[in-house]
Amino acid sequence: MAEIQIKKVAKRFGSFTALHQVDLTISDQEFMVLLGASGCGKTTLLRIVAGLETPSEGEVWIGGRRIDHLPPRERGIAMVFQNYAVFPHLTVFENIAFGLRMKKLPQADVEKRVRRTAELMHIEQLLYRYSGQLSGGQRQRVAVARALAMEPDVILMDEPLSNLDALLRLEMRAELKGVLAASKTTTIYVTHDQVEAMSLADRIAVMHQGRIVQAASPVEVYRNPAARFVGSFIGNPPMNFIPATKATNGSWTVAGMTVHGPKSDKRQIEFAIRPEDLDISPGGIDATVRVVEPLGAHTLVTADVEGKLFRAVLDSTTEAKTGDRLSLKPKPDRVRWFDPETNAALN
């Protein structure tokens, strides 16, 4: 059992607050992705769990044991770094064996475990090379193998794929998912790449300015963003937002269209819709087409609604031209609402 509990963890660097009392529980064997733009505190949080950074306040528990005062070596974790951190003076074999030798395992066991993890990561033919003789992708495999060989309770990954080229990243992503699911370790994975997050995660914790804005399954995060930031950060192209003014209690006027919405005392809230949840149909939002980008599978239309940018992913058979006026009708069950002051979702 290696459930991770992060309790009210805060981190300040001088006057700058990197983390504001973060709470997060990651259940045993869960793959949790910390997603956010650079500087949001996701790496800091990971390093606090690893023990490479001390929290200013709060507690970290792994498997029912409080570990925030322990050095990294006593936490039962293994970490994969963004720049691989493969020891250049050791062979691949000795790199993978490094932690096992620190545990003083007998040579036969070391040998066995190194070979097994090397096979798992498909690097068994590289065991006697040095890191200088490896490609970036191979180095990353060594780094992952080194972490797996430790058979840790928790694997921490800090943007492990961001230094790889696009094709390799795709390949490694799928492989990582398989290997980590098979190893049954609890994983925290930090990334700024939303596609990576969506494809790998059991749950995504979206971070923004030192806070966890939403922690939920990838589909939930995508479908029901808990805050405006989540909607605008996740999804490519991102969610569309238009101001909505109160018509009657429970219905709102959005760019000339009246829509059913939440009951609220506020006079103005924000209407939000994902670009792919729009259809060309009468009685919708009145939009003037600015740019049309045929992308093969779909056509991306960038339009102007009340002076704001508004994107729609439409069927590739759509024949819209710049300057056309379209009526874009949102799918009713996909419409979301946000409070413009708190930025939180309204129901």
């Binding site: 023990g51 990294p72 250049p88 490094f98």
Partner: protein
């Protein structure tokens, strides 16, 4: 290294560019001659027989006669002075690395109050001329009984070599990614184990280079050596004292014995010295 020529505007007249190139070449040649000519004369004369040194005309190539050198080596006191020089230089080497490398590591890995001031002060130690310090030092050394000992002189040489040791090891440790250490911590190492198993093997060639440089500084130093030792002269102090009254060929042989080891050492570690000055090493 194309910066000099590419600085010239593209529209410059060819003659101007040509003249500029000639000027550059001339400066390079003068500088080379400035450095190499004395070394050449030293080599030629040291490797000639005593008669050839005083004779005229000179030969362009030395006769590779070891007469001068043999005479020098057998000269009374040379062997002892040589031994003293080595002893002092080794002490200096050990102390400046023993103190300098931890300081360099601390500078590269930790943020502490006064870090910049510390770095500045390390360099400042080179701002005080040794003659200014020599007299008070001599007095103090006599009082504490450190005068005329290899260890006492090594302390002074260590203060001379220390700034370089700190700066070289600082750039050395800065070049080793901190993630390597962090990875070692997560793999079960204590701070010290991580340093010993990961940082040390990677830094060792550079540390050796910095040690050799400290050795060379001590080996070449003459002023403190002359002031602070009487019986236990180092080679430099010994030569300074005895050679201004000795024949020409002996001076050349002595110079040769001093310069050649220093040159070889510096040449061996040049890569790391360039790194210290921030010149990209290839």
């Amino acid at each position: 290294m194309t910066a000099v020529t590419s600085d010239a505007p593209a529209t410059a007249y060819p003659e101007v560019r040509k003249a500029r190139n000639w000027l550059l070449i001339a400066i390079v040649v003068v500088l080379c001659v400035w450095v190499l000519l004395p070394i050449y004369l030293l080599l030629v004369n040291a490797l000639s027989s005593p008669n050839e040194v005083t004779g005229f005309p000179k030969r362009f190539w030395p006769s590779f006669d070891t007469g001068s050198l043999a005479f020098f080596v057998n000269f009374a006191g040379v062997a002892k002075a040589l031994w003293n020089s080595v002893l002092v230089a080794v002490f200096t080497m050990i102390m400046s690395i023993g103190i300098g490398a931890p300081a360099g590591y601390a500078l590269s890995r930790f943020d502490f109050p006064g870090k910049e001031a510390f770095r500045f002060l390390v360099l400042m130690t080179r701002a005080f001329p040794l003659p200014l310090l020599a007299l008070p030092l001599a007095v103090m050394f006599i009082r504490t009984g450190l005068d005329d000992t290899a260890f006492g002189l090594a302390i002074v040489h260590t203060t001379l070599a220390l700034p370089f040791a700190v700066l070289i090891t600082f750039s050395l440790f800065s070049g080793i990614p901190v993630e390597l250490e962090e990875a070692a911590w997560t793999l079960g190492c204590t701070r010290f184990q991580a340093f010993w198993k990961v940082v040390m093997p990677l830094a060792l060639p550079g540390i050796a280079a910095s040690a050799v440089f400290a050795f060379t500084i001590s080996w070449n130093e003459v002023f403190a050596a002359a002031v602070l030792t009487i019986e236990n002269r180092t080679l430099t102090a010994f030569l300074l004292q005895s050679l201004n009254v000795s024949p020409l060929y002996l001076k050349f042989a002595g110079g040769f014995a001093l310069v050649v080891p220093a040159l070889i050492f510096i040449f061996a570690v040049r890569k790391y010295l360039f790194a210290m000055w921030g010149i990209a090493n290839r």
